[in-house]
């Protein structure tokens, strides 16, 4: 066995992951070869360093933090469903709230929308499950979540401009996105509820946000998630908590806009303003 092969196998040898025969051969080489022996010694010192370096214990309130996150997940009993926007907002992610000003701007009315009134047909029930999974996966990997959703329904990648041929209107994103956002991909997706335009966008920091434009209000997208109804830019807007992030839906011009993966109420407010300017200038 020569050095090149041994170098390739050295970690596996060191970690005891080689079969007996290969292990024997590497061992024989290392006994004779000072270069490979030195490298092996380096691995040993590294392992020692890693085992000696200790980690200080985590914050003592970690369980309380996990528990309060879990409390936010569980649908509260009906009597407790009236939550103040600020309480709910702070629980989403305190660190995201750059200023309280964004809240003050929009916290005009707070209430829980009366979603989920009808029992949906079977197809819609399945769809609710698919969409729920999409929402759950969005924060940890939005591209993976998007791929999952697209794998379930007919869809067509389009340029924002060419979406018009498929949905019969010019989506707002066709005119470009607000400053600081760029398009990752745009798809026309035929879901059981409606055919919509889905645009995955990227912020300057590389994080992502999905924008859906659709012709009907689609409460079943959020199924059992409680909505908080707020007024953003004088529009009624439903906010939903998702794992680690949030969603928002509102009527803009003749259509509806739904954001998945919003970072803050402030961002929702900013985008509601942008969409309403876009719709006023005739794009919607």
């Amino acid at each position: 066995m020569n050095c090149t092969v041994v170098k390739e196998l050295l970690s596996a040898y060191f970690d005891g992951e080689l079969g007996a025969k290969l292990h024997q051969q590497v061992q024989e080489h290392v006994e004779d070869c000072s270069v490979c022996r030195r490298e092996l010694e380096g691995f040993r010192r590294l392992a020692q360093l890693a085992s000696e370096a200790t980690v200080a214990p985590p914050s003592a309130e970690l369980w309380q933090r996990v528990e309060s996150g879990l409390d936010q997940d569980a649908p509260p009993p009906p009597a407790l469903r009236r939550t103040s926007l600020s309480q709910l907002a702070m629980s989403w992610n305190t660190r995201r709230w750059t200023t309280l000003a964004a809240l003050v701007l929009i916290a005009v009315t707070v209430g829980i929308l009366g979603y989920r009134s009808m029992s949906p047909p079977h197809e819609h029930h399945q769809f609710a499950e698919v969409f729920a999974e999409y929402l759950d996966r969005f924060k940890s990997d939005s591209r993976d979540a998007q791929a999952f959703l697209l794998s379930k329904y007919h869809n067509q990648p389009v340029t924002p401009e060419s979406a018009i041929d498929r949905v019969g209107y010019r989506p707002a994103v066709a005119g470009g996105l607000p400053d600081g956002y760029s398009v990752v991909s745009t798809h026309v997706v035929k879901m059981p509820c409606c055919t919509c335009v889905e645009c995955l966008c990227q912020r300057a920091d590389g994080t992502t946000l999905a924008i859906f434009e659709h012709e009907e209000d689609e409460p079943e997208w959020f199924d059992k998630r409680p909505a908080v109804n707020v007024i953003c830019q004088s529009k009624q807007c439903a906010l939903f908590e998702l794992p680690g992030t949030m969603a928002a839906s509102w009527k803009s011009g003749k259509r509806y806009v739904t954001l998945i993966g919003a970072q803050s109420v402030g961002e929702v407010d900013k985008l509601v303003a942008w969409f309403s300017r876009t719709s006023e200038t005739g794009n919607l």
């Binding site: 050295l10 360093l49 000696e52 370096a53 970690l62 997940d73 940890s140 990997d141 794992p243 680690g244």
Partner: protein, 177 residues
Amino acid sequence: MAELPADVFASCRAGDRSAQRSLFERCLSQVYQLMVRLVGVQDADDLTQQVFLQVFRKLHQFAEGARFETWLYRLATNEALQFLRKERRWRFQPLLVDPMSKKPDESDEQDHRDLLEQALQRLDPVLRSVFVLKEVECLSYQEIAEAMNIPEGTVGSRLNRARRELQQHLTDLGWEA
């Protein structure tokens, strides 16, 4: 990790807080240690919290009979890598500091921790994960492959690279073993 009682997952799924807490306590030090090594001590609390929230939210996806630890490592590593992908742009550039600017530390142990942490942060996140899962969490190659969703056959070569690059970074930082 010691064996968990068979019904702990069912109880956790049902929202039983005391079962959730015992699962949390059973796994906390492993998850936290992993996070300190992968994302650094300043974000380890937040990421650990996030991992446990995901554990309880996604526990219905965990197939009973599979090894919980593997599933947990997979979820935790994935969470850390997602975080690093997003943060890298702004967080990792300032870390490429002049090694000479490093202040001498008070104790040897402190010194080791800082050196290892700095050297790890210079390593590509995927290589860092492979190294930490091996040397800190003591997983087998098969377990590392499952946790990181990479072919088992590539674990050894990634570890070769991780170890060689890590030694180079440590040397650059003034490490004398």
